[in-house]
Assembly symmetry: C2
Homo-oligomer: 487 residues x 2
């Protein structure tokens, strides 16, 4: 075979690895040379046959690489007269490694002041907050229901679905709320969400105007406060006393929206009294305002049945009720719901369609089976018993007479408790020493809004989740704390 | 047994159903009477023993009902002196049936002009748009992988996770983008999202300031346009010609953000030429702007390999790349991703934490196995072949010489095609007659922004998805159309 004529262009350095797709490699090599100017516009590429010979590959390989270059506009004019590098102006792409001086939009600016720390990593430890006894979740059952759904899903459920969520699940949630929480609603008022956080965030995105004042409990759930703040709200902290949110203070604040955790105030654990509930509803009616009721752990009540939620007392469609499956199942399930006043249901569903279309179908369908088959109610009872027993283990083994730390309070509800500490210094010290022996504690000081009127040391305390690990590990943790804290 | 003394209060009408929880029913009945004033504040309730006798229930039942009322603040002072109705002001709760005159916030107002119609219901039919050949999805494999994950999930993955998504899945996405799309990125730049829509919406929420002008293709993907609009953007429609988005027109528009579908323009099917790609990147660099590149069906290319995305040419960190698994798997999976310039990754992750915490773990973990075990790559090839074959069935069987309807174009990519029609009247007529024989067609006129400069009839056309149903059903549908459209 005759030696090819010298190539009109520099193709040196092209090395094709026979173990990988040859055409793709050749395409990449040529494209790189076109983009960085080594093959300038107008240059004629060698005939495919010549290039194939030169590189020791089949002609088809070269043709496929040329086709791809042609399809993307890097080369042109292949019919008859040969293949030319197209007139494109560019230099070599380099990875985007240089952080930009990004001009900050308002939403980006708000995030600088309002964001959460990254979640704690690893398996739950004592005394992680916000985590139920998910070591008891019937994963075998969940696996079986998942496999059952996925083996033969109805094609009608696999396309784009109702933005508000799977209808069957919404019916079951409505029935659960009716029977379990005394809350009567139509499934059409329910939107299935990616956990409570998405429910709260939707409320923030739709009902807050930039600059609006929104009342939040202080101390309170920072993830909710941040969600309102990034929607443009100005947060107004309202004090919490033994009856829950101080509604008198709320009256004097210039707000039309309030976010509350009536069943079990987060983080103090106080239950909002009936008088306050009625005052709050009355406030919302007079102001034509909204109450976001976050019933995040309403299933956990150890004396009597769970309290009836605010939404069950609402006569005027002023309460948006947030519920979650994450405190009964596990947080990474990211399944919750929002019960809306009827006047708001359509708008929320429309917004949800633009935000995410809807939630993934499998989780919704499997949860629907889990409820319909009776596993859910059984699991609630199991979880309530487990949380009570873990609470008891904590109360019975907590070290007595810790300097600067109040005795543990009674705990009649929820998955965590809150205990006051004398000073911020002592709070930090207790937490640091606990961390040294592998015990997680949260400081109450983290739950206050910045610039809270209370004296610094009055914001000190410890927040302990007692449900995350079994009794034996709670006992171990309390023993570790006793040693770590002995002065 | 002596007859009880007359009750001091009216408890007539309380009937307890022995088949259900008695204490709960009694609690409900008493609570209702307290709230509607039949049992006014200060009234002393009968002793629990007397009430039990009267109602023919155990005393414990009454005590539990009273406990619950006490816990909720409806009654007070039980020790010694008896049980009194507490001083609460309320009237009977009635269901919130009356739609409010809701005062409209700006976000609610924007939704009135910008929302999607509800998705089509039922199993896919010819020629539904946006739906891949999911009848070929290996559900048995997905079911097996789901069961495998759920049977023994690592506890570390069940709590609150990384807001950007499961790290393993992000690594696999990065590898897929590198090998399959020529896009090199660090998994830290990737955020796993609830489908492409959430990726687009996140961009809108974070990068748009109220009043900003955002360039969108016209005609274009309305769900994206609406997402920008509800974030406060003013949409600027940019014309699309045979090379894709008209970058000259973009230059003359006062925008700093553009949303584009370069691989296969939605809905016209045009591929953005290389020269335009480079012009677009240059525009973004000069304006310090952002390009949202939606590569929704980039895997489907029938000649040559898929085109390299814009993000792979970006030297300046100006492209936000949106990808989705929904066009390879099925829409209800709601799994997509966003590849961010490094400078934006942290802010987006922070916002995501406040919006939803993160995506449900199961879907992410199962997709990670699906990719790692090689099913994904195999399935892409299967889906590409199926879509090509369905395209061929449509092209071969489409009725010829339909009055007012152009011939079908060449289709080299994607899951749908677009064909021009002479007039809006004719478009409506063709769609209506198709619907009568059970065939779904979308009107091209639906994809334009309101107030587009083009003459009305130039906006007419049909958009047909060809991948949703098997070849035989495509042939049936074309035959039905031939009959329905014969004049």
């Amino acid at each position: 075979m005759a030696v090819s004529p010298p190539l009109p262009v520099d193709l040196s350095g092209i090395r094709l690895d026979p173990g990988k797709g040859l055409a793709g490699q050749l395409y990449q090599a040529l494209r790189e040379r076109i983009l960085d100017g080594r093959l300038p516009a107008g240059v004629r590429l060698p005939a495919s046959r010549d290039l194939a010979t030169l590189l020791g590959v089949g002609r088809n390989t070269v043709v496929r690489a040329f086709d791809q270059l042609y399809a993307e506009g890097y080369v042109e004019g292949r019919v008859g007269a040969g293949t030319y590098v197209a007139a494109v102006t560019a230099s070599a792409p380099v990875p985007a490694t240089t952080p930009l001086d990004v001009p900050l939009t308002q939403p980006l600016q708000r995030l600088q002041a309002h964001h959460l720390p990254l979640p704690r990593e690893g398996a739950p430890r004592a005394f992680r907050v916000g985590v139920p006894a998910f070591d008891l979740f019937p994963f075998e059952t969940w696996a079986r229901l998942s496999a059952r759904f996925w083996r033969k899903p109805s094609p009608a459920r696999l396309g784009y679905g109702d933005p508000a969520g799977d209808w069957q699940l919404r019916e079951l949630i409505a029935a659960y709320l009716r029977n379990g929480r005394g809350l009567h609603c139509d499934p059409a008022q329910i939107i299935v969400t990616c956990g409570a956080q998405q429910a709260i965030s939707l409320c923030a995105q739709l009902l807050v105007e930039v600059g609006d004042k929104v009342a939040v409990e202080n101390p309170g759930y920072r993830a909710a406060g941040h969600a309102f703040a990034v929607a443009g709200a100005q947060l107004v902290g309202i004090a919490v006393d033994g009856q829950g949110l101080d509604t008198d203070e709320l009256e004097s604040a210039d707000c039309r929206m309030a976010y509350v955790t009536p069943s079990h105030q987060y983080p103090t654990g106080v239950t909002l009294s009936l008088a306050r509930r009625l005052a709050l509803l009355d406030w919302a009616e007079r102001r034509e305002g909204w109450i976001i009721e976050d019933d995040y752990d309403g299933e956990y009540r150890y004396n009597g049945t769970p309290l009836a939620p605010l939404a069950a007392l609402d006569r005027n469609g002023r309460v948006l009720y947030v519920g979650t499956f994450c405190k009964i199942a596990f947080p990474a399930l990211r399944l919750g719901y929002l019960v809306l006043p009827k006047a708001l249901a359509e708008a929320f569903s429309r917004r949800r369609a633009l935000d995410t279309r809807h939630l993934e179908i499998g989780t919704q369908a499997v949860m629907a089976s889990f409820i319909a088959d009776g596993h859910f109610q059984r699991h609630i009872r199991r979880m309530r018993a487990a949380a009570r027993s873990r609470r008891d283990a904590l109360l019975a083994n907590w070290p007595q007479d810790i300097r600067g730390c109040a005795p543990l309070p009674d705990v009649e509800a929820g998955l965590h408790l809150c205990v006051r500490v004398d000073s911020l210094t002592r709070e930090a010290e207790l937490i640091a020493r606990a961390a040294q022996v592998g015990v997680e504690l949260n400081g109450l000081s983290d739950y206050w809004l910045p610039g809270s009127p209370l004296a610094d040391d009055q914001r000190a305390g410890l927040v302990l989740g007692f449900a995350a690990v079994p009794e034996a590990r709670i006992v171990e943790a309390t023993e570790a704390l006793r040693a770590a804290w002995s002065d």
